[in-house]
Symmetry: C2
Subunit: 488 residues, 2 copies
C-alpha cells in the first residue's frame, strides 16, 4: 500500500513509507494532510513507560536503521514532553506503531497531563518527490544554529530538500579547503561569518538524520562578485572605453584558468556534499560588462557567436554542466539557462523562478522532456500584510497545458527565502508557518486540500505544535496557543 | 540652551536635557538625529576605569535623581560591554559628560578593543513632547518580558509613551482587582495569559526608569466582546426579530449598571496607572446591535435621539469622559468620537487613525482647538516587502492647512503595532528598526531629516547597535553587523 517518490540517496529509504495503524485521538488533523486518514472516536490512553515504536513487517526499513532509530528517540521526546526518559523504554511492544512523523501530531494530553490517542489508520506517501526549501546565506550570514533549527522545522513539515544558496554577490561564507581565500577575502568576516568544513558536515548530518537532502548552489557565471575578491582573474574586468573601469562583471568565460578553477571547486563540492544533485545557478547574467571587454569581444568573434552573448553564456554553462556530469552529479539550473538555449543535457533539472509566466514555462520545459522544479510562486521572502500563506496554498503545480507524461516531469518545488531582508532576527517567523502551505501542496492530495478555509484550523493547530517544539512560528490570526513561544 | 517638551510627570524632569560637550568619535551619526551635533576629528581614548557621568550645572536634574542614576548604570554597561564592573567607577570625574542617551551611540571600539570617542558638541531636545508606541495585548497575549524588551528598545529610540492597548474584543488579560472575573473569564487563559497587578507595576516601573510614560487604553463601548464574558449585563443583547439572538454588541449605554461598572473600573485604572492620561477608545462602534434591541430603541425615543445612533454613542462617551475628568485624568479618544460629535471637552486629546484623509482631519481637529496625536500613517503592523520604513519616514505631521497655532496643537504621534498577526514570535523584528523611522520624525528637526537615502546608513548603524544591545531588530538590506543577533 505504500507509494513512494524517487530518491537518489539510499539512506532515505529508511523513511519511505508505511501504513500506520494506531490508537489515536479525534484531533483536528495532521499537517501536511496524509493521503488517507481515518479516525475513530475510540480513545485509548498512552503510557510513556509502555510505549514503543516498531518497524512494520512490510516496511522497506528494518531494525537497525540508524536514521529511523534516531528519529524514534527524537519523536519520543516530542510526543511525551513531560516524561523523563529512562533506558529501555523504546523496546517494549505494547502498541504497534509504524510511522513517526504524522503520528507525533496525533497524541494529545488532557487537562490532567495524561496522554491519549484515538484509533487512526493512515496510508501516506508524498505527491512530489522533491520538496525543497532554499536559504540564502550570502546576502546575510545565517548562524549555524539558525540553519539547524530550520532543518528541524522542515522535517516537521515533511520538506526533504535543503537547497543551500550558500554564496552569491554579497559574500562567500563557504570556507573552501582548495581555495581558502574565497572566504578569507569574500566573506563578511573570515572567522565569524563563514561555514567551516565542520559546520557544513554538521548541517549535512543533521539534515540526513531528518530525511533531508542538502543540495548546494554555486551560482555562476553571474552572482559572483564576492568570488572575485579571493580569486584574482576569475571575473571579467569591465571596461570604460579602452581602459578597465576597475569594476568586474560575471565570471570570465574566455580564459582557461576559469574552467580549471571551476573544475577544482566542483570536485571539492562533490567531495563535501554527498547528494547526487548540485545546483549550478545560471540566472540573471548581465551582458554589459562582457560587451565592454575587448578580450571577450575577440573571443566572441573567434567562436562565431556574433553579437549574441546568450551563446557565450550557453558555452560557459555547457562546460560547467559537462564537468558536473563527469563528476557523476546531476545539474540543476535556473530557468534562464533553458530560456536562452534549449539544447541542454536531457537529465538537467530546470528550476522556474520567474513569476509571471510560470505555467507557460512548465509547458515548454516539460515538452522539451526536462524534469522541472517550481519555485516562482513560492518566493516567500516576498511578504505582504495578512494571510499570504493562502497565495502559496492556491498554487497548482500541475495545472498547465501538457500531457500526462509532461505532468510527471514536475518532480516538485521549492520554497525560497531570499536574504535581502532576512537574517537570524526574522528568519524563523517569516518561514513558519508560511512555508507550510507549500509543504502541504507538495505532499498532499491536491483534490483534498484545495480549500484554504478548511485548511485554516488545521494549520493553526500545526502552528501551535511548531511553537511547542520550539519553532518561532508566527501567528496566522488572532488567538493563542496553549504553549506560547517563550524564547525571547 | 535646553528646550523641552511639556510633560506631566515630575520624574521625567530628570531626563530633560541639556548640552553635551564630550570627546567623541567621527561616527556615522546618532539616531534619532540630535538637533545640533558637531563632531571634530580629534579622537580621545576612553578608559572604563576612569569614566564617569556627571550632572550638568545647568541641568534640571541634580545629583540624587534616581532615574538618572539608574540610567548611568545601565548605559555604562552598554558603552563598555566588555568591562567587568567594579565599585566606585561612576564616581570619578575625568570626563565631563552630561547626557547618556545619544552619547552611548558615539563611543566605539577599535579592532584591539580600546574605547574611543571624538570631541562632539550636542544640543538636543525633542520636536514633539508625545512620542508613543502602541502594543496590542488582546488579539495576542504578549508575555511580560516581550513588553519589557520593547520598553528597552523604545528608550534607545527616544520614544517616551507606551500606549498599552491592553484589552479588546478577543481577550481581557488585565487582571482587575475590582472585577477579577473580567480576566478569569475573558482572558485567553486565566493564569498563563493575564497581567497581574504585579506585572502591571513592573511594566510601569521599568518604563519610568527609562523616561517612558504608560498610558493604558480601556476601549469602549465597542471592542468589548471579551468584557462581556466576566461582566454579565454589560453588553447589549442583540435581537433577531423579537427575541435575543444570543450574541452581544457594544456596551449597553442605556442602563445605570453600565455607568456604575465603568466608574469603578476607571477608579481602579486611576489607582493602578499613575499617568495623568487615560485612553478611552471610542472607535468603530457598530450600530446594528443597538438598533436591533427594543430597550435601546425605547431609550433613544425617550432621549429624543431619533434614529441617530451617533447621538447615543456621543451620550455614552460624554459620560465616560466626564467620569475621567472627575478623576483628574485627561482623556485621549480615537478620532471617531470627534467625527461624530464635535462638541467634546476641550482638553480631550484626539488620536487620528484613519489613513486616507489624515491631513484634512488634522486641520479640522486643530481648528476646533483640540490637541492631536497622529497615528494613521504609522500603523506599522501593516507590512510590505522591502524598505517600508521609508513610508513612515516621509510623514510630515505638521504639513496640513492651518495656522501656526494649529500646528502647535499636534503634540506628537504614535507608532501602532496592532496584534492581528503579531505575538512574541515576531513582535521585535517587526517593530525594530521599522519604528525608528517615526521615532526620528517625532524627535528630530524635519528639515535636517527629510532625505531617507541620507538617513539610511545612519539607521543601518543604529540597527546594528540595537542588535548589540540585544534587540532582535531585522535587517534593512543586504549586509552584516559586527555583533549579529545570537538569541535563537
Amino acid at each position: 500500500m505504500a507509494h513512494t517518490g524517487t530518491h537518489s540517496q539510499p539512506v532515505r529509504a529508511c523513511l519511505l513509507l508505511v501504513v500506520v495503524s494506531v490508537w489515536v485521538q479525534q484531533v483536528d488533523g495532521v499537517w501536511p494532510l496524509p493521503q488517507q486518514l481515518d479516525q475513530s472516536a475510540d480513545r485509548n490512553s498512552l503510557s510513556p513507560q509502555r510505549f514503543s515504536f516498531t518497524y512494520g513487517r512490510d516496511s522497506a526499513a528494518q531494525t537497525g536503521c540508524s536514521v529511523l532509530d534516531a528519529a524514534f528517540k527524537r519523536y519520543f521526546s516530542i510526543i511525551f514532553p513531560d516524561f523523563t526518559k529512562g533506558s529501555g523504554l523504546l523496546m517494549s511492544e505494547n502498541e504497534s506503531i509504524r510511522y513517526t512523523s504524522s503520528f507525533s501530531q496525533l497524541v494529545y494530553q488532557d487537562d490532567y497531563g495524561s496522554y491519549f490517542i484515538n484509533k487512526t489508520e493512515i496510508v501516506d506517501f508524498p505527491r512530489f518527490a522533491f520538496r525543497g526549501l532554499l536559504l540564502d546565506t550570502s546576502r546575510h550570514y545565517l548562524p549555524l544554529h539558525a540553519i539547524l533549527k530550520t532543518l528541524d522545522a522542515m522535517a516537521y513539515s515533511k520538506f526533504n530538500v535543503f537547497h543551500w544558496h550558500i554564496v552569491d554577490d554579497p559574500s562567500f561564507p563557504y570556507q573552501s579547503r582548495t581555495f581558502p581565500d574565497l572566504s578569507n577575502k569574500g566573506a563578511f568576516h573570515p572567522f565569524t561569518h563563514v561555514y567551516t568544513q565542520s559546520d557544513v558536515m554538521r548541517v549535512i548530518e543533521h539534515a540526513r538524520m531528518r530525511g533531508i537532502r542538502v543540495i548546494p548552489e554555486f551560482d555562476s557565471p553571474g552572482h559572483t562578485q564576492s568570488w572575485g575578491k579571493g580569486q584574482p582573474n576569475l571575473l571579467t574586468p569591465c571596461y570604460k572605453g579602452d581602459v578597465p573601469s576597475g569594476s568586474f562583471g560575471p565570471v570570465d568565460p574566455t580564459v582557461d584558468t576559469t574552467y580549471k578553477f571551476m573544475e577544482s571547486l566542483l570536485k571539492e563540492v562533490k567531495f563535501v556534499f554527498p547528494d547526487s544533485y548540485v545546483h549550478l545557478g545560471g540566472d540573471e547574467v548581465s551582458f554589459a560588462c562582457w560587451q565592454s571587454n575587448p578580450n571577450v569581444r575577440t573571443f566572441m568573434e573567434k567562436m562565431g557567436f556574433g553579437k549574441d552573448f546568450t551563446k557565450l553564456e550557453s558555452f560557459y554553462m555547457e562546460s560547467i554542466m559537462n564537468m558536473t556530469a563527469a563528476l557523476n552529479r546531476t545539474s540543476i539550473v535556473w530557468q534562464d539557462v533553458f530560456d536562452y538555449h534549449e539544447r541542454i543535457p536531457q537529465d538537467t533539472v530546470l528550476e522556474i523562478w520567474k513569476g509571471e509566466t510560470y505555467q507557460a514555462e512548465l509547458s515548454r520545459m516539460t515538452k522539451a522532456g526536462h524534469r522541472v522544479l517550481l519555485s516562482a510562486p513560492w518566493y516567500i521572502n516576498h511578504i505582504s500584510y495578512g494571510q499570504d500563506w493562502r497565495n502559496s496554498y492556491a498554487v497548482q503545480p500541475q495545472n498547465f497545458s501538457g500531457t500526462e507524461e509532461q505532468k510527471k516531469l514536475v518532480i516538485g518545488g521549492e520554497v525560497a527565502m531570499w536574504g535581502e531582508y532576512v537574517d537570524a532576527t526574522n528568519l524563523n517567523p517569516r518561514l513558519w508557518p508560511r512555508a507550510c502551505a507549500a509543504a502541504e501542496r507538495l505532499w498532499s492530495d491536491e483534490e483534498k486540500t484545495l480549500n484554504a478555509d478548511l485548511a485554516f484550523p488545521r494549520l493553526e493547530k500545526f502552528r501551535c505544535e511548531l511553537l511547542r517544539r520550539g519553532i518561532q512560528a508566527e501567528p496566522l490570526f488572532v488567538g493563542h496557543c496553549k504553549h506560547e513561544y517563550d524564547g525571547l
